[in-house]
């Protein structure tokens, strides 16, 4: 394990060192590239004046709010569609008509309806997060062991309790997989909306750095956005293993 992670570090380190040496050797003057040492300095600078922290807060706030709303809607629809085959078949055309709309295409609509700011970003993130949760939770509910549902029937649980006590716990490991997927999408969509148009958060920060011809700061933002994406992913995987252990792995394959 040690040896393999050491080997994994060889390539990125070699690239960084080579880039640094090359940039120093030719005295790089560029609007789009900066040596790694300057990127690190710019990152420290952005931390020191708190600008990058404020941007991170804005982006994460929008992403988490959108993720929460999207997950709740997706989960409610997914469970309803999973339980009732009739409902699922009746709504099929409607769902399949709305789902393929790329989330970012809603941007102009959200823009004229809600203006710039958190709200339009949250709406777009929520729209993007609904679909993976809906589809995976529907599949999860359908694949619940039928005997569990028989138990619910034998106990004469009312529908609300059946959902709360039997269906959600049984489907939870796979629902979490969907949530993990959506969390990644939420961050991507939030940053994309900010880069495209919304003057807010990390995406706006990186665009501003580019327009100010500060390649070091721009790349520092890029590195930081990558680090957040990576950390989010690791956090989700750890949470999944902690909460569900092997149960979630079986749902991962679908």
């Amino acid at each position: 394990m040690r040896a393999s992670s050491a080997k994994a570090l060889v390539l990125p380190l070699a690239v960084l060192v080579a880039f640094e040496v090359w940039a120093r050797a030719i005295h790089l003057q560029s609007d789009s590239l900066a040596p790694p040492s300057e990127i690190v300095m710019a990152l420290f600078g952005a931390f020191a004046d708190r600008s990058i922290l404020a941007a991170t807060r804005d982006t994460l706030f929008s992403a988490v709010a959108g993720l929460t709303i999207g997950t709740i809607i997706g989960l409610a629809l997914g469970i309803a569609f999973g339980i009732s085959d009739t409902l699922d078949r009746l709504m099929e055309v409607t769902v399949e008509a709305i789902r393929p709309i790329p989330s970012i295409a809603l941007l102009p609509i959200a823009l004229i309806a809600l203006g710039f700011g958190y709200r339009m970003e949250i709406v777009i993130v929520a729209f993007a997060c609904v679909w993976p949760v809906l589809i995976l939770s529907r599949a999860a509910v359908r694949s619940i062991e039928p005997r569990l549902l028989e138990v619910a029937r034998a106990l004469r649980l009312p529908p609300a309790q059946r959902v709360w006590k039997i269906i959600i716990p049984a489907a939870l490991p796979r629902i979490f997989v969907a949530f993990r997927l959506s969390a990644g999408i939420a961050l991507i969509v939030a940053v994309t909306v900010e880069i495209a148009i919304n003057p807010l958060g990390l995406g706006a920060g990186i665009m501003l750095a580019q327009q100010a011809l500060r390649p070091d700061l721009m790349l520092a933002y890029l590195v930081w956005i990558g680090a957040i994406g990576y950390a989010l992913n690791v956090l989700m995987v750890v949470a999944q293993n902690r909460l569900f252990g092997r149960a979630a792995v079986s749902g991962d394959g679908t």
């Binding site: 080997k7 099929e92 055309v93 970012i104 750095a209 992913n233």
Partner: protein, 255 residues
């Protein structure tokens, strides 16, 4: 059975039509300002008008062009690089972890860097789309190559096949379900990035069209563009499913 499915389908269409009628009702009653929400009738008129004047055709063609070039470039490069990395154990241990590290990076964050390097040009859009679409394809190819039945490699060794022959005759065919699944994922990524690049760089396409319509508060044109983008997403993904089905028919028959 088939008849029942048809009936269900018709009922489902009726429900969807009901939602459209509800939308019309909301628009007619002016529950939401018509500046934000045109009725389906106005959106439809805008769609027809756009197509008959040729405006929407050229925008649609622009978006499809960006998407197709970026996606094809990503497919070729992704499969090639994925094959190189996936077929060598050394590359897998040294290179694959770095790729896994880069994977969760929101690809749109590369856009400012691309703009700094290439300006607001077609080349920038192409680079961004290809860069975004390459990941699912490349990672799927690496995964597919790593998951090839080991006995097939043993057969190749006993037949003394060259490395290229192994790649083309054994690894690529057996990894093809993974690769096609990756290509399908990339198609969505390519569409989204096309729209974003058009919005940012003002390139000819539906992304630019919807943004301009929104800026001018021409909501009917805006909805027409969004509907068209939805149709584009739907048609491309259906076409991809059909292609997948066709290309993998030999495998289904084998099982």
């Amino acid at each position: 059975m088939n008849r029942a499915a048809l009936l269900w389908r018709m009922a489902s269409f009726a429900i969807a039509a009901g939602f459209v009628a509800l939308w019309q009702l909301i628009a007619n009653l002016n529950l939401v300002s018509p500046v934000f929400l045109p009725g389906p009738d106005r959106a439809w008129t805008a769609l027809v008008r756009g197509f008959s004047s040729g405006d929407l055709w050229s925008k649609l063609a622009g978006t499809l062009e960006h998407m197709a070039y970026g996606w094809l470039a990503a497919s070729i490069a992704g499969i090639a690089i994925g094959a190189i990395i996936g077929s060598s154990r050394m590359m897998r241990t040294y290179v694959a972890p770095s790729l896994e590290f880069l994977r969760p990076l929101p690809v749109s964050a590369i856009i400012p860097v691309a703009i700094a390097m290439l300006g607001l040009t077609q080349a920038m859009a192409l680079f961004v789309i290809a860069f975004g679409a390459i990941w699912p394809i490349m990672l799927a190819t690496i995964h597919g190559f790593a998951a090839v039945e080991p006995r097939l490699y043993e057969v190749a060794r006993s037949l003394q096949m060259s490395r290229l022959a192994v790649i083309f005759k054994i690894a690529l065919p057996s990894a093809s379900p993974d690769i096609l699944a990756g290509m399908r994922l990339s198609l969505t990524v390519a569409l989204i990035l096309s729209v974003v690049c058009e919005i940012l760089a003002g390139l000819d396409g539906l992304g630019h069209w919807v943004l301009l319509s929104a800026r001018a508060f021409r909501s009917a044109d805006l909805f027409a563009g969004v509907i068209l983008l939805g149709v584009t997403g739907y048609v491309t993904s259906v076409a991809m499913s059909l292609a997948e089905h066709r290309l993998l028919a030999w495998q289904a028959a084998q099982r």
